[in-house]
């Protein structure tokens, strides 16, 4: 199929673009295979380049022969295009509709994108499991890297290499995998250097209604316990949800078969509910009514902040078990690809200072989300505006980013990156020129050969100028565990995402620039003082005579 077949009208003149808080632009609208472009063809004016993949929904309106298309984007922006001519407008609208909903992976933009920048370090090779394991090896000898999943046959959503207890052989892993949802047998997620405790993650055990058990699974997770120590299993579902899962072949670890483990149930919602929550939240934020009561009740009804609190609380619990109780932890929900990853990754942000650096955070996303098999393509194919019925869409990763932002707000000096980095990740999970978030698992990405055919987001992010842009000027390395407050009064609405297009951010941006300026100026002054002192010291040693009056 050629893109040209889908584009009935590739170019329309005299189109007016309207965006909130920005001047209107009149110019020529062009449709290409992957972009909607609006250019006024004058120097110094901004051009609009919008990826079709970023378009969540469109609406058409007609007044006489003037058509209007309202474009709602996955990054939550809403723009309006006034197009003269009914036929042109209809053509453009239908082309956008088709182009923004293409299912074929082979037509996706990252496969066509050629970078305009020089790739200094290939992001596809920046965070290999082998390298991560080298760090682990330097801390402990109790773990090994297993290639039992090298052809993705044991678990289709796991990477080829996973870290498991040294004493457990691959056969045991295979048997344990058969006992876990999606073959996701317990693997190492995080090693807490301070006390040698670990966090593992998996899918739910397939106990079913008649209470199946699996000796190998028990052996596998018991191998992570020190003699006489108990561990915690954090099930991200409520007891009743976990009970119900038994009827469908799932279940949870019973006390009888796992006597060394204490099970704790939390209540993180499943993906369909989260998607609904996002839709309601965005609708509340877009409500133009000036009624305070209406805003607060809509915000409440969306339940978004409740989800944030639940996820953070569960992550704090996991972190606390490890750091305070000195116990190892196994985290799972149902599949082990959503709420499980929210908890394990946030717990690491809390516990491990390395995850709060720019590189470390990328490594965390790579390790705990991409390699761990979070189905990004399914979860992020639609955002909050889409009219079509959601299938597997859910803002699981966005919620994780929101939680990180909450912690960042509470510890504004402990993160090397600013909220810009989180917003950037949010944007790129939904629409991107980079291949990083394509596919649903390591195996899918390897089948598509993305590391050869596309550019990694990390290649772009790790260029010095981008690192500079994403840096937090207030950062001071903080080696401590950081415990966030999860009181409702401490949790805020993430304005940088949800109100981003609803107001002019100029005042806030300028204030931020001013703050950056003060910090930079301070560094410069310090350098200057150092320099002068050194100069002076040199002179005074060279010419001691001048000192005496």
């Amino acid at each position: 199929m050629e893109f040209a077949e889908l584009i009935k009208t590739p170019r329309v003149d005299g189109v007016v673009l309207r965006r909130p808080f920005l001047p209107t632009v009149e110019g020529t609208l062009c449709l290409t295979g992957h972009h909607l472009i609006l250019s006024s063809r004058q120097d110094n004016t901004e051009e609009l380049w919008l990826l079709h993949a970023n378009i969540d929904a469109i609406e058409k309106r007609f007044v006489g022969s003037l058509g209007t298309i309202i474009v709602k984007c996955k990054d939550l922006r809403v723009i309006q295009l006034d197009i003269p001519g009914m036929e042109e407008c209809l053509n453009i609208a239908s082309s956008i509709e088709v182009l923004s909903t293409l299912d074929s992976v082979s037509l996706m933009y990252p496969l066509f994108y050629r970078p305009m920048f020089q790739v200094i370090e290939d992001g596809w090779k920046s965070f290999l499991p082998e390298d991560a394991f080298k760090d682990l090896e330097s801390m402990t000898e109790e773990w090994r890297l297993s290639d039992v999943n090298k052809d993705y046959s044991v678990c289709s959503s796991y990477p080829p290499l996973v870290a498991v207890p040294k004493d457990v052989d691959d056969d045991t892993l295979r048997k344990a995998a058969a006992f876990r949802h999606g073959g996701r047998f317990p693997v190492l997620s995080y090693y807490h250097k301070k006390n040698g405790m670990v966090m593992m993650r998996s899918g739910q055990p397939l106990t079913g209604t008649n209470g199946r058990r699996c000796k190998e699974d028990e052996k596998l997770i018991n191998a992570t316990l020190r003699a006489g120590k108990r561990g915690y299993i954090i099930d991200t579902r409520t007891v009743s949800v976990a009970q119900q899962a038994k009827a469908r072949g799932g279940g949870f670890e019973s006390e009888a078969n796992y006597p060394q483990w204490r099970r704790i149930h939390k209540a993180i919602e499943r993906s369909s509910i989260l998607q609904e929550s996002l839709i309601k939240l965005v609708e509340a934020c877009n409500d133009q009514s000036h009624s305070m009561d209406r805003w607060l009740s809509k915000l409440e009804a969306s339940n978004w902040q409740t989800h944030v609190k639940e996820i953070l609380t569960t992550a704090c619990l996991a972190a606390q078990c490890i750091d305070r109780e000195g116990a190892s932890v196994l985290v799972h929900g149902t599949e082990g690809t959503d709420s499980t990853l929210q908890v394990t990754s946030l717990a690491q942000i809390i516990l491990d200072p390395a995850c709060r650096t720019i590189q470390g955070f990328q490594a965390l996303v790579e390790r705990e989300w991409l390699q761990a098999g979070h189905p990004f393509q399914q979860r992020c194919s639609q955002s909050a505006y889409s009219n079509s019925k959601p299938r597997c869409e859910a803002p699981v990763f966005l919620l994780f980013l929101d939680c990180v932002w909450q912690i960042l707000r509470q510890f504004p000096c402990s993160f090397q990156f600013s909220q810009h980095f989180l917003v950037l990740l949010f944007e790129h999970t939904y629409a991107s020129q980079f291949g990083t978030f394509m596919g649903n698992s390591a195996s899918e990405r390897s089948k598509l050969n993305l590391s050869q055919k596309t550019v990694s987001l990390w290649s772009w992010v790790n260029r010095p100028q981008e690192v500079e842009r994403l840096s937090n000027p207030l950062y001071e390395a903080n080696c401590l565990v950081i415990w966030p407050s999860v009181a409702p009064q401490s949790l805020l609405l993430w304005e940088g995402v949800f109100l981003r297009w609803k107001r002019s951010s100029r005042c806030l941006d300028e204030a931020y620039d001013e703050m950056v300026h003060i910090i930079q100026y301070n560094k410069e002054l310090q350098n200057k003082v150092n320099n002068l002192r050194r100069q002076l010291a040199q002179l005074e040693t060279e010419e001691p005579l001048l000192q005496t009056p």
Binding site: C285, Q288, H290, S291, M292, D293, W295, L296, S297, E300, N303, Q305, T306, K309, L312, R409, P412, C413, S414, L474, L480, W483, P484, S485, V486, A487, P488, Q489, S490, L491, L492, L493, K502, R503, C507, E510, D513, E514, M515, H517, I518, I519, Q520, Y521, N522, E524, L525, Q526, N527, K528, V529, N530, L532, R533, Q535, L536, L539, E540, E543, L546
Partner: protein, 647 residues
């Protein structure tokens, strides 16, 4: 002292408000304070102390005896809530009954302001009271002028005892008109000037409701409004803003009061703006505090509570009214007369907030003090009644001024560069409105203050705040912001109004960010000034060696350019990048030089009770269940029971 039965009780436990933690210590009761000193701490950390001024205590409650002792819950006007458990019931009862007496002073003389002595000499004290001069303030606005004059009708508080002596009226308003108008207005509060918008010669006037009933009219009052209208050539009419909901205003007619009938007054445009009365506001804040005070609060209950208490709705209503006023004056160039019932609550809120939006001067520290002095203190906002300074009618108590401070805070959140002060100033003013430590806010009006001789017997808060003003600076403040944005146009979308955690949970440290951007940047900015001095000094010394500084005064340039409204994106990065890099390399070679410098900007500890303190050296503690728990900082030294900053 005669009210204190037990000055000291040992082994008292202080329960943390939002967790299950507790600390034990000793409770001291002095003539002015209730003091808790933590005792169990090891030598490594200094013991925690809590000082509570008796005036700050809103209520004391003795709960029923438990196995561990007798619980005593104290709620403070600065929103601190402390929960003690006293071992012996008799001790608890003694403290309880002493506090009951101490927190209800019956005469002004019992207030702390009359005994407070900050080690100042008489001259300093007097100078403190002269810092703010309202006559000069009206001059700054351009009054008196050819249309507005100072009148002496109220020199002896004869026309209106709740107004100040000096009042400004239209030149054409003769004495009979004033007297007649005052008789037609509730409490004699006739229309007077409170702010003059020089650019358009438009006036903001204030008064109380007319005694119009269902049909009464007053020719003098009508002439008065006519005079106000005539004093402004830009507009053919004057807006009359009744800040009450229409229903309330109509109900007042039955009591012989009410609102202006448009048929009787020529050239007025009448407008209701619907701010609720003091009773609604009092209940609303009470509900809010109940909601946010509950332990293990869920997000849904929190948001539903925010909605049902209506507090943010009321705050938005006040801001909306101020925006209406501002637009009428600055865009239409019309004069506006603002009133409510008595013209000392809602009227004060709307006039002062409107002036803050219109005039950048009021967004400076000094200007903000002038604004409060003018619209609140001098025009007779009943601080004594509203803040319950003496044991009075509980129905008169209302958080009207707190609400005004919150409106200002909401604006500072929307315009982070427009205000010279940070929220610390607002919190500190709020603290002292209730502390009765300074004379400024005592009593209900200027006349009473003169009778109490406050200027001779007490100290002024403004002097204290100005002395410490470096603590209240907003580091992001841009003085030239006023040139580009003389009038602020806030958004009134509900999502831009937020819960003011630092006010209502000021003392619940566990809820605050653990690191403060504000504090950090403020410290850096101070350090920048010191470094600039150091550079000057070093350059002077270098000059003695015959080396002159490179390029004309380079260290001044970034500062000057910062003042320009449109600063290049990252000026500091672009300009001297190469040289800076070079310096950095040199510095790496000589590590020890660098260390000296960092000293002067690092360990300046700044602790504001309620505002977050930075704690780096110790681990952040946590608690099962709440995670909100954060131990009190090692040193919270409170002087006079008042949030204090130590630099």
């Amino acid at each position: 002292m005669e009210h204190i039965r037990t000055p000291k009780v040992e082994q008292v436990r202080l329960l943390e408000r939002f967790s299950n933690k507790s600390t034990s210590g000793t409770l001291h009761l002095t003539a002015t304070h209730l003091i808790f000193v933590e005792s169990n701490n090891a030598a490594t950390t200094a013991a925690q102390e809590i000082w509570i001024l008796h005036h700050h205590i809103a209520s004391v409650e003795k709960l029923s005896l438990t196995t561990s002792g007798c619980p005593l819950v104290i709620q403070c006007r600065n929103f601190r809530v402390v929960h003690f458990v006293v071992q012996r019931e008799r001790d608890c009862h003694d403290i309880y009954s002493s506090l009951l007496r101490l927190l209800r002073p019956v005469s002004y003389d019992e207030l702390y302001a009359f005994s407070y002595n900050p080690k100042q000499n008489e001259q300093q004290r007097e100078e403190g009271w002269q810092l703010i001069d309202l006559g000069a303030e009206f001059e700054r606005m351009g009054v008196p002028c050819d249309r507005w004059q100072l009148t002496d009708v109220n020199r002896d508080y004869k026309i209106c005892e709740t107004y100040p002596r000096d009042l400004y009226v239209p030149i054409t308003a003769s004495k009979p008109i004033i007297v007649g108008s005052s008789k037609f207005r509730s409490k004699g509060r006739f229309p007077v000037l409170t702010y003059f918008y020089q650019e358009k010669k438009a006036a903001v006037c204030r008064c109380s409701q007319p005694l119009s009933g269902f049909s009464a009219r007053c020719l003098e009052d009508e002439s008065m409004l006519q005079a106000i209208s005539k004093a402004n050539h830009n507009s053919r009419f004057v807006y009359v803003m009744d800040t009450r909901p229409k229903l309330n205003a109509m109900a007042n007619r039955a009591a012989g009061k009410g609102y202006e009938n448009e048929d009787n007054y020529s050239n007025i445009r009448f407008q209701f703006v619907g701010i609720e009365n003091i009773h609604v506001m009092r209940t609303s804040l009470q509900k809010l505090l109940e909601v946010v005070g509950s332990r293990f609060l869920s997000v849904n209950d929190y948001l539903l509570g925010l909605e049902s208490c209506g507090w943010l709705r009321h705050v938005k209503a006040v801001v909306d009214a101020a925006i209406f006023l501002t637009k009428a004056v600055t865009v239409e160039g019309a004069s506006v007369l603002v009133h409510c019932s008595d013209g000392w609550d809602r009227t004060a809120q709307v006039c002062s907030l409107g002036a803050l939006l219109m005039d950048p001067y009021y967004r400076t520290i000094k200007g903000f003090m002038v604004l409060i002095e003018k619209d609140w203190i001098s025009f007779g906002h009943k601080f004594a009644d509203r803040c319950d300074q003496l044991d009075g009618d509980p129905k008169e108590v209302s958080p009207v001024f707190t609400q005004f401070l919150e409106c200002v805070w909401q604006l500072t959140e929307q315009f982070p560069q427009a205000f010279e002060f940070s929220e610390w100033l607002l919190l500190q003013i709020h603290e002292h409105v209730h502390s009765c430590q300074y004379g400024n806010f005592l009593a209900n009006n200027q006349r009473q203050r003169e009778e109490l001789q406050l200027g001779d017997r007490t100290h002024s808060l403004w002097a204290f705040l100005l002395r410490e003003q470096q603590n209240y600076l907003n580091p992001a403040y841009c003085p030239t912001y006023a040139d580009t944005h003389p009038v602020l146009e806030p958004s009134t979308l509900p999502c831009h109004f937020k819960f003011w955690r630092n006010m209502y949970h000021q003392f619940d440290r566990s809820m605050h960010p653990r690191q403060s951007v504000l504090k950090n940047v403020l410290t850096l900015k101070e350090s920048n000034c010191k470094l600039e001095d150091t550079i000057k000094d070093l350059e002077a010394r270098l000059q003695k060696h015959g080396i002159s500084p490179p390029t004309p005064d380079p260290q001044a340039s970034p500062r000057d350019q910062r003042i320009l409204p449109t600063r290049p994106h990252s000026l500091i990065l672009e300009a001297p990048l190469s040289r800076k890099e070079a310096q950095r390399q040199q510095e790496e070679e000589e590590e020890e030089v660098g260390e000296e410098v960092t000293e002067c900007c690092s360990d300046t500890e700044r602790t504001v009770e309620g505002s977050s303190g930075t704690e780096r050296k110790e681990s952040y503690s946590d608690l099962q269940g709440t995670y909100g728990a954060k131990a009190e900082p090692a040193v919270v030294s409170l002087e006079f029971g008042v949030a204090r900053m130590t630099c």
